[in-house]
């Protein structure tokens, strides 16, 4: 590919913003905060990502989705690399992503500013009715990044994205 025909950084990030998270398709990879960089190494585009949880099983799907979307944008040679440090944190998730989670009934991770233990002591708001009268059901949930609560007022169980 001739250099001048390469997508710009803005075009690349725009394309990446169209790749949904496989487990929460309402949010995309960029607003989830897992895409670190998009850099050209000669004619190869190297996308560096930082998975949410160490053992995130969605990684293979994410890798393939990124590759497909960028190939559709005209980049023939894409390499997706994983960078584990610095570790991903829910603090990197954008406000837009948090709002989308909330609207979908998945409580967004509370902001913790580096103190996860402290924030886990605080009451969690039910994403459906807004009540803070909720109880922890399980520290684990349907994916590694979620935990299960029950709302005492509206009686509905719900999941929260774990602060990390």
């Amino acid at each position: 590919m001739h250099v001048s025909s390469r997508p710009t950084q803005a075009e690349l990030w725009s394309a990446l913003s169209e790749v949904p998270d496989p487990e929460m398709p309402i949010v995309n990879l960029v607003e989830l905060g897992i895409v670190r960089s998009a850099e050209w190494h000669a004619d190869q585009l190297v996308i560096t990502i930082t998975p949410t949880f160490a053992a995130c099983p969605a990684y293979a799907v994410i890798d393939e989705s990124i590759r497909q979307r960028l190939q559709a944008a005209g980049v023939a040679d894409v390499d997706v690399r994983v960078q584990h440090s610095p570790a991903w944190t829910t603090e990197w998730m954008t406000a837009a992503a948090r709002s989308k989670l909330q609207a979908a009934g998945l409580a967004p991770p509370p902001r913790h500013y580096g103190n996860v233990i402290q924030v886990l002591m605080e009451p969690v708001a039910c994403p459906r009715c807004g009540s803070h009268n909720t109880t922890l059901q399980n520290n684990f949930g349907t994916t590694p990044c979620r935990m299960i609560y029950t709302c005492v007022d509206c009686k509905e169980p719900f999941e929260m994205f774990k602060p990390l």
């Binding site: 949880f53 053992a55 584990h84 440090s85 570790a87 944190t89 684990f140 349907t142 590694p144 299960i148």
Partner: protein, 255 residues
């Protein structure tokens, strides 16, 4: 980092990873068999996390040795002989009943959380950053086991009996947490990793207080014949056979 330290650290990390891998394998045996659905979900997640942590350490070891970090972890996991693994016997013992597995998880995770706290202060940045990441995930593991142990130990006569029996069996094996990891002496002298013996003293104080608070009797007389990570229990070859059979059927297969 000096080359001798790089080599020592790779051995240290492989031992840490082996603990995580083997514990994760044992925990995964609960998938579909836990006493209630919520705990089936919890144990499946615990297993996934532990194996994910193993992968991070194996990859860092690969980097230090100049190996391919995509292939080397699989080579270590699927193509070593049982005698080449450096995990503690504590993590390889059969899963036992659910009280036993829950207590083992607590004993191991409480120590690991202390070690990760110390490693996250290491001057070797890749090590420190991965330790900090894993430690945050481990906080959820500890919250889980710390909720269940008092529930069982202070529950019915039957659940209390099982929890005490689990502690009596596991306590001697847990003493091996005090033994240095491969390469630890040199790495500790260089300020790269903490001393297991020092962590063990903190662990024992913390764990004894917690278990005693849950009404359990902690036996201070613990006969333990072999603290090393070289010897394995009679149960270990069968575990490794389960873990490796499929990969060894076709070593060149791509997944």
């Amino acid at each position: 980092m000096e080359q001798t330290h790089q080599y020592a650290l790779s051995g240290y990390l492989i031992a840490l990873a082996d603990d995580e891998l083997i514990l994760g394998h044992r925990v995964s045996e609960w998938t579909g068999h836990a006493p209630i659905l919520e705990e089936d979900i919890a144990f499946a997640n615990l297993a996934l996390d532990e194996i994910g942590h193993a992968k991070l350490w194996y990859e860092l070891a690969a980097d230090l040795l100049g190996e391919d970090k995509y292939r080397y972890p699989d080579q270590l996991v699927y193509f070593r002989e049982p005698a080449q693994f450096r995990n503690l016997q504590l993590v390889e013992l059969p899963k036992g009943d659910w009280a036993y597995s829950t207590l083992r998880q607590y004993l191991f995770d409480a120590f690991e959380t202390l070690r990760l706290g110390a490693l996250s202060q290491s001057p070797y940045t890749p090590l420190a950053e991965i330790a900090a990441r894993i430690r945050t995930e481990e906080l959820y593991h500890l919250r889980h086991s710390q909720a269940w142990i008092p529930r069982l130990a202070l529950g019915t006569e039957g659940s209390a009996h099982r929890m005490q029996a689990a502690l009596d069996t596991l306590w001697p094996y847990a003493q091996a947490l005090a033994a240095p990891l491969p390469g630890e002496q040199d790495l500790h002298a260089a300020g790269i990793v903490p001393s297991s013996a020092a962590l063990f003293a903190r662990w024992r104080a913390e764990v004894e207080q917690f278990l005693t608070g849950a009404g359990l009797q902690v036996n201070l007389h613990f006969p333990i014949s072999d603290l090393s990570r070289i010897s394995h229990s009679q149960h270990f070859p069968a575990l490794i056979h389960d873990l490796q059979t499929v990969a060894r059927l076709d070593p060149e297969a791509t997944w």
